[in-house]
Amino acid sequence: MGKYIAKRIAYMIPVILGVTLLVFFIMHLAPGNPAQIILGENATAEQIATLEHEMGLDQPLLVQYVRYLGDLLHGDLGTSYSSGSSVTTEIMARFPYTIKLTLVAAIMSLVLALPLGIIAAVKQNTWVDNVSMIVALIGVSMPIFWLALMLIMLFSVKLGWLPVYGADSWKSIILPAISLGFMNMASISRTTRSSMVETLRQDYIRTAYAKGLSKTTIIMRHAFRNGMLPTITVIGLEIGQMLGGSVLTETVFAWPGVGRLMILAINARDTPLVMGCILLMTVCFSVVNLVVDLLYGVVDPRVRTMYR
């Protein structure tokens, strides 16, 4: 198992390298001169050239990239062009908010999605199934932006129960987490349902019924556990995505997460900050994928044999 984890972590290195290479070159292909942006419109060509030299922007792209990687190996993500602060500081000021929102949204969505998916599968083609899947369909198709505004209008403006925006108290996280979690809840419950429906048709389930096991035992121990693999994949993807920042939710609720930071950085051509945010997203995705793969082994003993 340890060897497997080490191997998977090693696989992350080329992924990170590939992503940084791609983003670095794309950012440099985009119009906009960082030195000009920093110095403002009153800067002369000479001043811009001097700053470009100081920042190493006059070097060939490949040299700049190699230097970036060198700094990265020393744990230095560089300095933000826009704020003059260290990229690590900028990101770490916001990442805890992103983690908090992701965790609460993920818990909310799982608590609702799994029972909804299981019930829909067990009660397949009944009104229960139809209602569950309509709720899921609404969740998948409802624009998150609209849902967020409606939640604010109801719970903050009309009822006055929760704050409209911010991240200062435990109450502040409820609405952003609901709006973010609702969409994820929908896709997780749909996946759970399809996978459970497939599992419930298997011979071993029929055998379990024939053995006289209780319905609950059959569903939870035999069907759910075996039907979890696709669901775990979807959960992993959703959490990975949320950890990378949820721009719309963060924008509507003024939640100070990484997603908004990255959009601002892209607009300002703040290459070091964009690189830092993308790197964080890549690591988050890779780690979540690793956890998902390890969970496969926990859920399905057959997968564990592959680790050896």
């Binding site: 704020s83 109801l154 924008t251």
Partner: protein, 529 residues
């Protein structure tokens, strides 16, 4: 049996959920309550710590919704509206620009005298303390100006100062390289806000630790979230001392959220109201709306160097063919002021003489005078946001009437900034809002081509601008500036479109709200009723 019981539980659950959803839908669909918590004095609200739902009497905090977060709280590393707004809280200059008259008045200076065209002596107020407890003296003035001059972006505001002589601890003499009538305005600009010499020498990070003499002190900057300040009890100007003790600026990028935060009482002041919500907030009980016609002028910048728009007649044809009223109604929901002069109205020197109203017949006459085939001309308009795109779309329809084809070229602000420093564009929708008319007309000098290479250059105009630039007689200079504006209008180097109307909404209990035409708000003057 078991299955039936489960069905029954499920049915009840679904029915309960449906009832909750329907009730929620009905509640959210009801009309606006029009009663923000801040005006009701309702203390029962549980809407977060920043809620305005506290009793107004004795209230000592103000929460402001900002659209953007400043990149810096220091004075010299930015030139942004939000950055300056924050600087006004923590710093002072020798002079300040009065928010109502836009004229410079003494601030940290007790008085000043103009000894010659290039020499100015400033007597400083005594006993003024920086927020670190040190006394403000002439040494700080010399250190601050030298420090500001080390930033290239400050050149417009500090470049004219050749030397700073410390006469005594409370007297300082500034010598300019040329006669500089704008000196007082420049000293009131944020680049020249006073900093303690000791902190400059020690390499203090003025963005993280903004120490000035201002009416407020920084408490916390939670990046991406909020910036909070507390009143400076040692502020030197008793008349302008802050009456609200705690000030919090929350960063809320989405317009609808800002509006709802004000309605719910979570914030007390919205710095920038989304145009869709202006009517709603104006008609809401307990709220007040400030509307200011700003000096921020939006115009259609035309490449006068290497496109057909180098021809004056073609530019005039475009200007006559555009109906500014349509643009204000169609793109701005009616919330803007049509502009017919190349320099905003609102300065003492402003004039719309030789301006261009909407007249399609005249547009066609100028097109004929140009002599070309309009169908061969494509006006490619660079737009860097949705409002500009809406304006360009209306222009597209209007210019089609005189046969000019318009294409809309959307790009993000960084790309837009980059292309504006080249001649690789035909036109763009641009805005500008300098604090005084002289700074405005300086942009018509051909040397501005260093910054905007595709702008117009004219030798006669250069002479007029150069003269106004060194004219120290106020009345004479005002006349010259007015003359320059009329001359520029006649040349039509670009097409003025509209002046921005700023909308600031706030709790009606907030008094003494002063919003300037240059975009700033005087938070230290505000008080609760």
């Amino acid at each position: 049996m078991k299955s039936k019981k489960m069905d029954s539980i499920l049915k009840r659950g679904v029915a309960l959920c449906s009832a909750i959803i329907l009730t929620a839908g009905m509640l959210s669909g009801c009309g606006s309550s029009n009663k923000p918590a801040s005006s009701t004095g309702d203390t029962s609200s549980s809407a977060g710590s920043s809620s305005a739902a506290t009793t107004e009497s004795g209230k000592d905090s103000l929460t402001v919704a900002l659209t953007d977060e400043p990149d810096y709280l220091s004075t010299c590393e930015h030139d942004s509206l939000m950055g300056v707004q924050m600087n006004l809280l923590t710093y002072n200059g020798l002079v300040r620009i009065d928010m109502e008259t836009l004229q410079p008045v003494c601030d940290l200076a007790e008085s000043f005298t103009q000894d010659s065209d290039t020499e100015w002596t400033f007597k400083l107020k005594q006993g003024v303390l920086f927020q670190n407890g040190e006394e403000f003296t002439a040494d700080d003035v010399a250190a601050t100006i030298a420090y500001a001059q080390s930033f290239p972006s400050s050149a417009t505001y500090t470049g004219a100062i050749a030397s700073v002589e410390v006469v005594d601890p409370y007297t300082v003499k500034l010598v300019t390289s040329d006669p500089t009538p704008n000196l007082l305005y420049n000293l009131g600009y944020h680049f020249n806000f006073m900093l303690p010499k000791s902190l400059i020498d020690s390499g203090n990070d003025f963005s993280a630790n903004p120490v000035g003499t201002g009416p407020y002190k920084l408490v916390e900057w939670n990046k991406g979230n909020y910036i909070s300040f507390v009143a400076n009890d040692d502020y030197f100007d008793a008349d302008r001392k802050a009456s609200i003790q705690n000030l919090k600026f929350s960063i809320i990028p989405e317009g609808a959220t800002r509006t709802m935060a004000l309605e719910s009482g979570d914030v007390d002041f919205v710095y920038s109201v989304a145009s869709n919500d202006i009517d709603r907030l104006t008609n809401t009980d307990g709220l007040a709306m400030e509307q200011v016609v700003s000096v921020e002028n939006y115009f259609l910048y035309l490449n006068c160097v290497n496109t057909p728009f180098a021809d004056e007649n073609l530019r005039k044809a475009v200007s006559y063919a555009i109906n500014r009223d349509d643009i204000v109604v169609g793109a701005l929901n009616g919330y803007g002021t049509p502009s017919y002069s190349c320099v905003s109205m609102g300065y003492a020197e402003s004039t719309d003489e030789n301006g261009y109203g909407y007249d399609v017949d005249k547009a066609k006459q100028y097109l004929a005078a140009w002599g070309g085939d309009p169908s061969t001309v494509t006006l490619d308009i660079v737009c860097s946001n949705e409002t500009k795109k809406a304006i360009a779309t209306i222009m597209q329809a209007e210019l089609a009437e005189i046969g000019i084809n318009v294409t809309i070229n959307e790009m993000d602000s960084a790309s837009y900034q980059a292309i504006m420093t080249t001649t690789d564009l035909t036109s763009a929708i641009v805005s500008w809002s300098p604090s005084n008319a002289l700074t405005y007309v300086q942009r018509f000098h051909s040397t501005r081509r260093d910054y905007t290479p595709a702008c117009m250059a004219d030798d006669d105009l250069d002479v007029l601008v150069e003269h106004a630039n060194v004219c120290m007689d106020d009345a004479e200079r005002a006349g010259e500036i007015t003359n320059i504006i009329a001359t520029v209008n006649d040349m039509c180097p670009f097409v003025p479109i509209y002046q921005v109307n700023y909308f600031r909404a706030h709790s009606a209990d907030l008094q003494n709200v002063v919003c300037s035409a240059t975009g700033y708000v005087d938070f230290s003057a505000m008080r609760w009723n």
